[in-house]
Amino acid sequence: MYPLTSQKTAQENNGISVVHFDCGGCNGCDIEILATLTRIEDLKKLGITRVGDPSKANALVATGPVNHRNKEVLKSIYDRMQEPKLVFAVGTCACTGGLFHNCGNTLGGIDKVIPVDVYIPGCAVRPEQIIHAVNLAIKKLTQEGKPE
């Protein structure tokens, strides 16, 4: 129904199928991720598609610091994803907790809950940064067959 999202699985898409989850950042990075996704032509060349269903995805872009409630959701999304899994922590607060480090209900970066492959710092990150990082990850994936 929505061309920006594909219904196919990661293998069928033959590249990276990205699912997006916001843990609780300020949205700044989320809107930049969306802005990235609007550059459809660039993404096609790199073989990146956005999917809605975590079980069809092999990459997760997550923003924001983890809290006690969304850590369960994040974990379940990660568990449902296909192997090999790639996780991108987008934004400073997803990397380390950032500005929210001393907030009462914040556990820290998303690596407190799931393993992260690529950290993209920046508050907010720029679309070019995201594309660059995903590109690096694809190279890594094809060289090693599997992320660390």
Partner: protein
Amino acid sequence: MSNTQNISTFPFGPQDVLLPEPLKFQFYVDGDKIIKVDPTIGYVHRGLERAAELNDYRRNLYLCERICGICNVIHGQTYAGLIEKMTDTEIPERAQYLRSIWGELARLQSHLLWLGLFAEAVGNPQLFLDVWRDREIVLQLNEATNGHRIHLGTTLIGGAVKDIDESLAQKYFAELDKLRTRMDTWAVTMRKDPEFLAKTVDIGLLPKKDAVHSGAVGPVIRASGIPDDMRCNGYQAYGELDFEPITYDGCDVQSRVLVRLDETYQSIELIKRALKQMPTGPIAVKSEGFPEGEIVYRTEQPRGEVFYYGKGNGTIHLERLKIRTPTMPNIPPLLTMLTGDKKQNIPAIVHSIDPCISCTERITEIKEVA
């Protein structure tokens, strides 16, 4: 609910392609009619008000800007306004104008973002791409202003960190005119396209009376015919900008689209007018002393009234900072809109209040485990 045999339930969220942010609804439907809705929030709660008490009050400015990336500018301005009141700082007139200009630029960005997301939610992805392509103009203006696309960061307690010089002002005029012409090409789809209208007209009704009783704010209440807008209070430079709130009487999703669409045009006009009227002079003063006393400060965010309450005790730390953002009062009206409507209209109706969850999450319940 006496007759429960036909009622089925299904969840919407917390992770869904249509929801940029985690929010969960449990829907109870009879056939395709919505009987009841239970919203759940708490997925993005951070405990930010507590951190605001621990931080130096000057640092909180950057924390408040990061309550929400979409309306960051006005959050920063509201916090600065609150502290300026608490420390009796009078900011220069030019700074008031600069704040209004950047506040309107933020509104423009936010409304364009929403118009795009809404187009996608009603199944018109090409429109989404068009709107977002034009939104880039605003982001590039942000970048030209202070080097950042999202977090503008021009607010300072006591004024502004940057000025708009002649060449930047010319750039604003040129780019905004370009934006306006481009907007005309797709705005007509939102106003006239029968396919678009079929998904918005007479959907998600919020009659005038309900809008008042459930405490709606912002474009939601203005789309129910009530001219409620904090900017009418004339804070910053709005008193001198000859400002009239935009209202529509349809009380449906389409009216909410039209209110926001007209407000984007209005914002362009307000920015241009403010740039022309802006007096010369200094852009900041030094704010002396520590915040003291209890103050309430309200401004108009793109989504409605934002309410800041601060309590200071003359030290570097605030005793209390309470923030109520516009999505919170718009949730009860949302439940009114959804109840009795059809299942297939859920995405359009949920989007019509422009929910911003990262703004809303100010409270959480802590359960003691024995």
